[in-house]
């Protein structure tokens, strides 16, 4: 199971912060400095027969609202106790206390020696919080002074990520602009993509030989863009297949992909004017399990001997097993994935391979619609920006570092800032 792909869930977390980030408010920032208002906390855990080790408290404790969030965080920072040393330290840690709306102090976290920040994520808007940090020795605890009460704020726009927003808008704008241009009838050139030139030929070959076509849409679910791309290609391929009257078979490893695949093929057959030739049996679910699915598909390949295999979508370790088996039964194989780790195997074992971005370009390319071609042109703008940034960046950073020219170094810093995500 360790080889099984991780679902994209952790990514949602990033997204979460992202969506958030963009949603605005302009709360004033409030910083509460510690005031001289000592708190009495009884020293804890007296150990008999040993002298109490009293350590110095932390200083300059600052509680500040966390920037660009929903108002659920407060950042604390302080200067560690002077007894907190790397070697032979008398400090064994810190405790962070919080006082909510002038209530009782409550210990919210224990930190390691050397810590000088804490991020309290369990605060609510509309309440006042003040904090103090106490320094722990082996048998005693020294509290710091207490901060003034502070209320967490909500901001509506994360200005730190403004550059990402702008870049995304530039790219999105480019794509939309070229789609519009194409829609108005301007002809756009798109270079040949070898694997896609072969699609017609591959389907024709299956027809001649009277053998089926196998379509494998990867092993991830509908929440992966590669699967979407594979299904859009399936739409075009199925259209041609319907015209040729060849058999298509699509074993899948996800129930949702099964449903979506059926819809796609059905639509293509309808568009080709042959809805009667469609049957639900063209798409079969096998199992969600990576290698169980592969075992079954291998069996199908050997028994049905397809003339053509499409392996398009998200693949993991199974890529080579499928491609080698397909190769051994003499099928023409057109593969494509955006998983860099699996591309070498497809290159080695398949006749044509759509490398990374080509997979996403494929459906646009196959459709031949100007609108879709326009989006490809938009992608190219993105690449041009990336290339320019790399070129300028490397030149300036090299020159700037080698000859220590400050203004050139500033260009680099600016450039890197434009592309930094945090």
């Amino acid at each position: 199971m360790s080889s099984h792909p991780m679902t994209s869930r952790p990514l949602y977390f990033i997204i979460l912060s992202f969506l958030f980030t963009f949603f605005p408010s302009c709360g004033g920032s409030s910083i509460a400095l510690a005031q001289a208002e000592p708190i009495d906390i009884a020293t804890t855990q007296m150990i008999p027969d040993s002298e109490q080790v009293v350590v110095e408290p932390v200083t300059s404790l600052i509680a500040a609202d966390h920037k660009y969030d929903d108002g659920g965080m407060i950042d604390l920072s302080w200067v560690p106790s002077i007894d907190d040393q790397l070697v032979a330290s008398r400090v064994i840690g810190y405790k962070v206390y919080r006082i909510e709306d002038e209530g009782e102090p409550e210990m919210i976290s224990e930190l390691a020696p050397g810590s000088n920040t804490y991020n309290d994520q369990s605060v609510e808007r509309g309440k006042l919080y003040s904090y103090f940090v106490s320094t722990l020795s082996i048998n005693a605890e020294t509290p710091s002074v207490r901060t003034a009460p502070i209320e967490p704020q909500r901001e509506w726009l994360n200005y730190e990520l403004l550059n990402v927003l702008i870049m995304a808008l530039v790219l999105g704008g480019a794509v939309i602009y070229f789609i519009e241009t194409a829609r108005r009838g301007k002809k756009l050139f798109v270079r040949k993509i070898a694997g896609l030139e072969a699609v017609d030929e591959a389907i024709g070959r299956a027809t001649e030989m009277g053998r089926p076509i196998l379509f494998i849409p990867g092993i991830l679910d509908m929440d992966d863009v590669q699967t979407l791309a594979a299904l859009t290609i399936l739409g075009r391929v199925a259209r041609i297949i319907a015209d040729y009257d060849t058999k298509i078979f699509m074993p899948v490893s996800r129930s949702l992909v099964m449903t979506a695949g059926r819809e796609t093929i059905k639509a293509s057959y309808q568009a080709a004017g042959r809805p009667d030739a469609y049957s639900d049996d063209m798409v079969t679910y096998i199992t969600d399990e990576q290698f169980g699915y592969v075992a079954a598909v291998d069996g199908i390949m050997v028994r049905e001997k397809p003339a053509t295999c499409f392996l398009l979508g998200a693949f993991f370790a199974e890529s080579l097993i499928l491609a080698e088996t397909g190769n051994s039964v003499g099928a023409i194989q057109i593969a494509g994935t955006a998983r860099p780790a699996q591309l070498p195997f497809f290159i080695a074992a398949c006749d044509f391979t759509l490398i990374g971005e080509e997979l996403f370009a494929a459906s646009a390319y196959l459709s031949g619609e100007p609108k879709q071609m326009g989006s490809l042109k938009g992608q190219d703008v993105g690449k041009a920006i990336a290339m320019a940034a790399i070129l300028i960046g490397i030149l300036t950073v090299t020159i700037g570092d080698a000859w220590n020219v400050e203004w050139i170094q500033n260009i680099t810093t600016g450039l890197v800032d434009v592309f930094s995500t945090r």
Binding site: L19, L228, T232, A260, E324, G382, A386
Partner: protein
């Protein structure tokens, strides 16, 4: 439908992605019923019509029912060691999946045998890179090149290839992929690409 698609990603809520993953999980739980029923339907059809290989279809049905019934009846703690479900997992599921994975060892060899031929310049590069990295990563490599100065030994060459040209290629691919995804997503959101939605 278009409106749903358009608005969801921009819906200004921090809970949004949480919800999405929760909802998605629930939809999946329902959808797998469809998948499982489909698998059963096809297997049962095979058995009834006595198509070739119907005996294996019986095995599929039997093993499917076995683990499902055990798993559902054992309650929430179905995964704890000592349950029957766990037994099936450890002694049936695991050997199968790790063997299937291990088969790759064979396929890696046969694929290299067939594919790594110096057909043209590109293929030669592919071959050479694979060759040096492969041999540079076992002790044999350093025994062969032991006479060379430290920096030019095969293991160092292998790691140089991995660190530099490999990184360059990966980076180009990654940037391309990301742009491709952005553009595909945009096409879906703008409703230009609707093949998966029965072309409404």
């Amino acid at each position: 439908m278009f409106v749903i698609q358009y608005f969801i990603p921009h819906y200004p809520f921090n809970r949004m992605s949480h919800w999405f993953s929760d909802w998605f999980a629930i939809i999946l739980a329902c959808a797998i019923v469809l998948g499982a029923l489909n698998l059963m339907k096809i297997s049962i059809q095979k058995v009834i019509k006595k198509k070739p290989g119907w005996g294996y279809a019986v095995v599929i049905i039997a093993s499917f029912l076995l683990i499902t019934i055990i798993g559902l009846s054992e309650g929430e703690g179905f995964r704890e060691p000592g349950t029957w479900f766990d037994w099936l997992y450890v002694y049936v599921y695991t050997p199968c999946s790790s063997t299937m994975f291990a088969i790759l060892g064979f396929f890696v060899a046969s694929a290299s045998y067939r594919a790594f031929r110096a057909r043209n310049f590109e293929a030669t590069l592919l071959l050479l890179a694979a060759f040096f990295v492969m041999i540079g990563r076992v002790p044999v490599g350093d025994i062969i090149s032991g006479f060379m100065p430290e920096g030019a030994r095969l293991s160092n060459l292998a790691s140089w290839i991995m660190t530099f040209p490999q990184t360059a290629g990966q980076r180009a691919i990654m940037i391309g992929i990301a742009l491709g995804i952005v553009s595909t997503s945009l096409r879906v959101i703008l409703g230009i690409e609707r093949a998966h939605l029965a072309g409404e």
